[in-house]
Amino acid sequence: MSWKKVCAVAEVPENALEKFEIDGIEIIIANYGSGFRAFPPRCPHMEEPLCDSGVLFDGMLTCTKHLWQWDMATGERTGIAEKELLFYDVKQEGEDIYAHVEQALVYEDDDDDEEEEDDDDFFNAD
């Protein structure tokens, strides 16, 4: 597997995070204004789905679960974030965005998640 077309540029407006599936691998495309980033769909901290929990503004991605942040231009973590984001190489050709996807990027310790999904009771706590 190599460069794969993910989406059209117009599908990811500035400051948007959009999730796509490439040959069964979910990735997020982020438009941070001066470029695009491609990364796995979950936060490396608590596995929050970044399409829902992520806020992208001023080139900074913030996960609202614990306010971990990453600078999209440099790819580096900032503030209280303790783990790096993993990135797929991404490029724009014409009006399309391509990502270099060999296999799903996984965070350390995330490769054998054996827990079944549970009903989320968080919203209904007394």
């Binding site: 608590m46 679960k65 503030g79 054996e114 827990e115 919203f123 706590a125 007394d126």
Partner: protein
């Protein structure tokens, strides 16, 4: 029940801590009561923030059904420190940095009290007061874990009141139809019933040396901790120098409570404190403005109302958020887009 002393070694990213406890001590509580600021958020088994990994020894999970277990990798020995106690000498690993609490922090401890008042504030919000056997100090905005007889597990609620050496703690609880706790509180004569507590906990705290304008966005029972913050600010005369903007979201006027108390606070604190009641499902009736002339009423989701009213007044500001996750997440997005830095956004996602 054993009283044998056990050694629990906590290996954090920056250093190790040696704790002496017993098989009755939940590891999170043991660490916090020794002023070791272990990671947590709800402290009651839902958020998963306090996950750790067992390196050696044996632990006992006191609530195997805790919803926060969905964040764990059990095969790798992960567990929730808020629900587990050591059965033997143990070594655990916490992957984050862990520091000791600052001097002067209100170090959490086990407490005992008894229920002294239960009443309805609205059809689905309960006021609960607990009289303590001993006084406790806490910071405005903190919460307490409370365990009732016959009800499994501790629940976390923010204190409404604020005072040093508090003898009573006031809480507001969202009533769930058919909910175990709601049923117990209303179908039993609870006055005088003894309860166990642990706290105070939480980092969404206010103190007067903050020296910033404050913005509070709360929904429903989330107003509890904000009331405590306003109480402390009022006692300290904080709003003679700094601005306060409070947005309290409820669905309709029938769901609103503490409006008399908020009016009193507004009267005490003066014009630098603005309090807006945001109604998400109806326009404010005319008599609301007549009955509460010191309060402002508006229609919409509370963080959207806050965004409209704040406009560009985000300079030198600390924001406190409290309420259901959609409110907190929506508010965080609004604040980040207003360029409020993350160190000035405080919340505890637990209620």
């Amino acid at each position: 029940m054993t009283t044998k002393t056990l050694n629990i070694q906590v290996n954090a990213r920056n250093r190790a801590y040696a704790l002496d406890g017993t098989s009755n001590d939940k590891i999170l509580n043991l660490g916090l009561s020794n002023a070791v600021d272990l990671p947590y958020e709800c402290g009651s088994g839902t958020c998963g923030t306090c996950k750790a990994r067992l390196i050696s020894g044996e632990i006992c999970d006191q609530w195997p059904e805790a919803p926060g277990r969905k964040f764990l990798k059990l095969k790798k020995g992960e567990f929730l420190m808020c629900q587990c106690a050591a059965k033997t000498d143990s070594v655990i690993e916490v992957e984050s940095f862990v520091h000791t609490m600052e001097a002067g922090a209100c170090v959490p401890a086990p407490l005992k009290g008894r229920i002294s008042s239960v009443k309805l504030l609205t059809p689905d919000v309960i006021f609960l007061q607990i009289a303590l056997q001993q006084t406790v100090d806490f910071d405005a905005g903190q919460f307490m874990l409370v365990q009732f007889p016959e009800i499994v597990g501790f629940r976390g609620w923010s204190m409404v009141n604020y005072e040093r050496h508090a003898k009573t703690l006031d809480f507001v609880i969202k009533k769930k139809p058919g909910g175990e706790l709601s049923e117990w509180l209303f179908n039993n004569n609870c006055d005088g019933v003894e309860v166990d507590l642990f706290g105070p906990m939480g980092n969404a705290t206010f103190y007067s040396r903050l020296a910033k304008n404050i913005l509070c966005i709360a929904g429903g029972s989330g107003i509890a901790g904000i009331m405590s913050i306003l109480s402390r600010a009022s006692q300290d005369g904080y709003f003679s120098q700094y601005n306060g903007d409070v947005f309290f979201g409820v669905r309709t006027m029938k769901d609103a409570f503490f409006l008399d108390e908020l009016s009193v606070l507004r009267g005490e604190c003066g014009e630098k404190l603005n309090i807006t009641i945001a109604l998400s499902e109806e326009a404010a009736p005319d008599d609301a403005r007549t009955d509460y002339p010191l309060l402002t009423f508006d229609q919409g989701f509370v963080h959207e109302v806050a965004g409209r009213h704040m406009e560009d007044r985000y300079q030198n500001l600390r924001a406190y958020l409290a309420g259901p996750p959609p409110l907190v997440n929506g508010s965080i997005g609004m604040l980040l887009r207003a360029r409020v830095t993350t160190d000035n956004i405080r919340y505890d996602k637990f209620s």
